[in-house]
């Protein structure tokens, strides 16, 4: 039954089939060419970049559902992404430090007590911010299962409470965008403090070292995370394609276009917005939890308001209201961004002035954002649609 259902779903939505097939092919090619497979044509660090890009694609489609489909211009979804990263980072740091501490203390003649071990771990982790005790929010950090649950629950609950307060008061449009910016800014500022319990501006680091897999090379770990990211993106895409198809899609697009009218048809608009906002926040949290072990480090600067604005820029450039548009935007802009800011782009010498791309990339991005919004409101995806229509 479910199989027949998903089959017809994919046939009725050929773009979903195309995206999933391309993603599968891409995963296969990267796997074959990776260092883990022995060929090594793609370096481990580039596999990580690609894996991270897949995570960015996942949060981009979430952003597209909340903004492109439901019309809520959230400029705070990177907060949920960061929370997901912190939640998994806490377990990674705890478990790894625990292993190191156990090794160090094993040389002692008298076996250490539990509290000595705990204190040693805390000193190791929080010494950098001058603390030596576990804050309350680390209560579950010893358990992978519980921290994985936090990856889902904390972004979900934050979105639920924030959304409930904002939507119930009928805050819409630019005012809502400002509120979401305030939310992510407040969170970033809080995390910057040393006594936030999450190591202040140092953030959490060493996240690329997976406890229990010390003997496994980074080449293999990076490929495993790449696969996990590809799987998460595929499942996320299917989920959002299903949510935005059919009647739910019809209702949320109607809310985007005229929410007052939807109310007079008897739909409780606030519940729908809350559903979309919370669901996309949870998916963003999952994307973050997969991203930061590949990045190796997370700090509060990651959830600064600008990150969420970038997210909106990707979706706008890629094409709002189409899931594959968000993927195109995220891939195109983030890879271009790492090219220009990575120092590999050649400087342009104008004689009187040298254009250094590391400085000028943001100007280029800003200009292309303006150009796309003015000239192609449908984004890059609309060019694909034009080609498809010509055939």
């Amino acid at each position: 039954m479910t199989k027949a259902l998903s089959k017809t779903f994919l046939i009725r939505h050929p773009s979903t089939l195309w995206v999933l097939a391309s993603l599968g092919l891409f995963t296969l090619i990267v796997s074959v060419l990776s260092e883990a497979a022995g060929t090594g044509l793609i370096s481990t660090s580039f596999v990580k970049t690609l894996g991270k890009t897949l995570c960015l694609c996942l949060i981009a489609i979430a952003m597209d559902v909340v903004w492109g489909y439901c019309g809520i211009l959230s400029l705070g979804h990177f907060a949920f992404f960061g929370i997901g990263g912190y939640a998994i980072g806490m377990w990674l740091m705890y478990a790894r430090t625990e292993a190191i501490v156990a090794q160090n203390l094993s040389a002692n003649l008298i076996p250490p007590t539990d509290s000595e071990i705990s204190d040693a771990i805390a000193t190791q982790i929080f010494g950098v911010v001058g603390a030596s005790e576990f804050p309350a929010i680390w209560a579950f950090s010893h358990s992978l299962t519980l921290q994985l649950l936090m990856v889902l629950l904390v972004p979900g609950l934050l979105a639920l409470v924030f959304g409930w307060l904002a939507f119930r008061s009928r805050v819409t449009g630019v005012y809502l965008s400002i509120l979401t910016q305030a939310m992510t800014l407040a969170l970033a500022l809080y995390l910057f403090q040393n006594d936030s319990g999450l190591r202040g501006n140092n953030g959490l680091s060493g996240l690329q070292n997976i406890p229990g897999f010390e003997a496994t090379s980074q080449a293999v770990i990076s490929l495993a995370f790449f696969w996990a990211s590809a799987l998460a993106l595929a499942l996320g895409y299917l989920l959002f394609a299903w949510v935005t198809a059919g009647k739910m899609g019809s209702v949320i697009r109607a809310i985007r276009d005229d929410e007052a009218r939807v109310r007079f048809l008897g739909y409780q608009v606030e519940s729908y917005k809350l559903f979309v906002f919370t669901l996309t926040a949870v998916v963003s949290g999952i994307a973050g939890a997969l991203y930061y072990p590949q990045a190796g480090i997370i700090n509060p600067a990651e959830i600064a308001p600008i990150a969420s604005i970038y997210l909106a820029v990707w979706v706008a450039i890629g094409g709002r209201g189409k899931l594959y548009g968000a993927i195109i935007g995220a891939v195109f802009v983030s890879l271009l961004s790492s090219y220009f800011t990575g120092g590999s782009a050649p400087d342009i010498n104008l004689g009187f002035y040298v254009i250094k791309w590391t400085d000028w990339w943001l100007v280029l991005l800003g200009l292309s954002f303006v150009a796309v919004t003015l000239l192609f409101p449908g984004g890059i995806a609309s060019l694909f649609d034009k080609l498809a229509r010509k055939q």
């Binding site: 697009r253 005229d258 009218r261 939807v262 109310r263 007079f264 048809l265 008897g266 739909y267």
Partner: protein, 246 residues
């Protein structure tokens, strides 16, 4: 005929201007009622109060057999309780097909969970076909609603109102911008709806009101000036004075 909606002593003011002033009104089910009145008489505000868009400063609005008060309810709750509204300016979802517009309005469970798990049924498809037929949009079902002409959008909106199967239909200037033949058809649809339900029609066009052949309520300065048959109210000296005489 039992009373479906009863408003009593309702007042609302905007920045000191009394848009509705101690208004009392009732309508039974089934019943057809026309509301006329000069510009600024409070006709649209009257509909806004019933549908929950505007909260009155005082008064009561009671709906249905269980006498539930509409005042504490949200727009969507009132709509689900059985109040449907057609706006003066056609407001359909232009980026969606005519069929999707009908499907959105169709009487079905409205919670996000129900909608998420909603499956298209042959019964629903038949209902949409029948409604489209009724308002003359059978050929237009796969088209984008934004591509329709102004008149067709009016029809779509009327069709969507019928699709909700409300007990009380509030219809704001249905005949605006319609040809005489279309007006006749609109009249037929509204009269048919009034066989079972309560229909309130706000209209400027006296010919249209005459064809509805129903009780007329004249509003002026936010309260009821006269009520009765069209001939009765048009012969009322007060009505002639404020409205028809000008």
């Amino acid at each position: 005929m039992s009373t479906l909606l009863e408003m009593s002593g309702v007042s609302v003011s905007f920045d000191g201007f009394k848009a509705i002033n101690n208004l009392s009104f009732q309508i039974g089910e089934p019943e057809m009622r026309a509301i006329i009145g000069p510009n600024g008489a409070g006709k649209t505000t009257f509909m806004d109060i019933i549908t929950g868009k505007t909260r009155p400063d005082e008064g009561r609005v009671i709906f249905g057999e269980k006498s539930m008060s509409l005042l504490g309810m949200s727009e969507s709750q009132i709509a689900r309780a059985g109040v449907g509204r057609k706006f003066q300016k056609p407001t359909v979802f232009e980026a969606q097909t005519v069929r999707e517009n009908f499907a959105l309005a169709l009487k079905n469970p409205r919670s996000p969970f129900d909608v998420l798990l909603h499956r298209k049924t042959p019964a629903g498809a038949d209902r949409i076909e029948a409604l489209a037929e009724q308002v003359g949009l059978s050929d237009q079902l796969p088209r984008m609603a934004g591509e329709l002409s102004h008149g067709q959008k009016q029809w779509l909106e009327i069709g969507m109102l019928l699709a909700q199967d409300p007990r009380l239909l509030l219809v704001d200037e249905p005949a605006a911008g319609m040809t005489p033949a279309e007006r006749e058809k609109t009249t037929d649809i509204l009269v048919a709806a009034a066989q079972k339900h309560a229909v309130v029609v706000v209209e400027h066009d006296m010919e249209f009101v005459r064809r509805l052949n129903c009780k007329v309520t004249v509003l002026n300065e936010g309260s009821v000036l006269a009520e009765g048959s069209l001939d009765h109210v048009t012969n009322n000296p007060d009505v002639i004075d404020v409205y028809l005489g000008r």
